[in-house]
Amino acid sequence: MSEWNSLYDAILTGDDKTATAVTEEALEKGAEPLELVNQYMVPAMDEVGKRFEEEEYFIPEMLLSARAMERSLALIQPRLAASGAKPIGRVAIGTVKGDQHDIGKNLVRSMLQGGGFEVYDLGMDVPHEKFIEAIQEKDVNIVCLSTLLTTTMPSMKTIIDNIQQAGLRDRVKVMVGGAPITPEFADQIGADCYGDSAYSAVKLARNLISA
């Protein structure tokens, strides 16, 4: 990897203008869309995640990198779709009813998109039934639930119970995350996994799909 290293650098430093300019130039010059993703964008976001784990990067740096990645990806995606490339999986994501804190959810969305998933962002303060509809209508493989508030934590269990009652539980995996959420809580409510950061979400989602 060398030719489009500036794409890697731009995403790593969160420079979305350079990232999109380089992406446009690369596509014009005939670069393979999938190669741009796999050789430059994914490694850049991996490095962002590593820096986050090492406390060199915090949420602001991650947000900027994710935005640079998302904007570049938006240019690449039509070409990927045209070439018949399939997403690794389909994800529905949202903050649960009553919770209007979407910073974490947005980061996870960006990271999953960058990681090759097709993501349906249901937004924040999402009524329980919207998750059921997404499973039925969008055929998603993974449902990601987020909450920052302790008061809305029980909603996660309700949603999982509703999925069960609708007879859809074996069709989807459920990932949960958010500041007050713990692995023990995820176990208690019958989620398939808990993610402690946007970075770990991609690895976890890949594991769930291949499981």
């Binding site: 406390e55 602001p60 947000l63 009553g98 919770d99 209007q100 910073i103 934590m153 029980p154 007050p180």
Partner: protein, 291 residues
């Protein structure tokens, strides 16, 4: 120093209140409903929470206005009622205090990020001004900016609050990093103290984000960085869900046992955040009185 503060600080630590959201839920607030909207629809219930804290020994109680900035209320379709909800919130707490406690009115984050273009400095200044002015009009004795992650937003809120002429506490939430000594935005206690003091905060503090044990070091660092009176409101540990209810496992006694260390670390104001109840405040007051 402000007269209100000079008076309060004659004997420290000053006892604050505990959590409100969980207390309101115990009175029937459904999860997900706008807590602040209850100032208009269920003022009696809100007042009973405030009164319980006064009776438990709080010398300062807060208000049910944490999420009542116009930007947060917009999410519940109540943005146009921002001024009324805040004014009523301050009035309710004042009435419950009945002269036995001071009221520091609560102002929480907007939920929007300046750096991502979701809001602007000008817009934040405007919404925090509106909130602070309404709280002052409702009779608040002071204002407390709480649970802030972004030092830029916190500084804007402090500046807006200071325009009322009331004493202002600026508090941030340290919940990130291996040692939980950074805000979500990566801000250290030293950086937070500097930003808040520069914006004019009379009191610097930290609330929420972690259990009480983590607050001793944060308190020391805030104090060393600014020399201002320090305000500490810790959570009752890590929440768990048992039988569909969120519970916290730190007991009032465990919580209060940190009071001597926090006082030693420079805390002038002590209270509780998520998971704490009037019982926590009662035991905290007993502990502090015996120091």
């Amino acid at each position: 120093m402000h007269d209100v503060l000079t008076d309060l600080l004659k004997q420290t630590p000053v006892i604050l209140d505990g959590a409100w959201g969980t207390q309101l839920q115990a009175r029937g607030l459904p999860p997900g409903e706008c807590t602040d909207g209850w100032n208009l629809s269920h003022p009696g219930e809100v007042e009973s929470v405030a009164r319980e804290y006064v009776e438990a020994g709080s010398q300062i109680i807060l208000t049910n206005t944490f999420g009542a900035s116009r930007l947060m209320l917009n999410g519940h379709g109540l943005g146009d009622k921002a001024a009324e909800i805040n004014r009523r919130g301050a009035e309710i707490s004042k009435r419950a205090a009945g002269g036995r406690a001071k009221v520091f009115a609560s102002m929480g984050p907007s939920g929007k990020l300046i750096m991502m273009g979701q809001t602007t400095e000008d817009e934040l200044l405007e919404v925090f001004r509106e909130q602070a002015a309404a709280l002052a009009e409702g009779g608040a004795d002071g204002l407390v900016i709480e649970t802030m992650s972004d030092p830029q937003e916190a500084a804007i809120a402090v500046r807006a609050a200071k325009e009322t002429g009331l004493p202002v506490a600026g508090c941030m939430v340290f919940d990130t990093g291996k040692n939980k000594d950074r805000t979500m935005m990566g801000t250290t206690p030293e950086q937070a103290a500097e930003a808040l003091a520069e914006a004019g905060a009379d009191i610097i503090g930290s609330n929420c984000g972690q259990g009480v044990s983590g607050f001793v070091a944060i308190c020391q660092r805030l104090k060393a960085a600014c020399g201002k009176p320090i305000w500490i409101k810790a959570n009752a540990g890590i929440p768990e869900v048992v039988d569909g209810q969120v519970v916290y496992h730190t007991t009032p006694g465990e919580f209060a046992s940190y009071a001597p260390q926090l006082k030693e670390a420079g805390a002038s104001f002590l209270g509780g955040c998520c998971g704490t109840t009037p019982e926590f405040i009662r035991v905290l007051k007993q502990t502090v009185d015996s120091l």
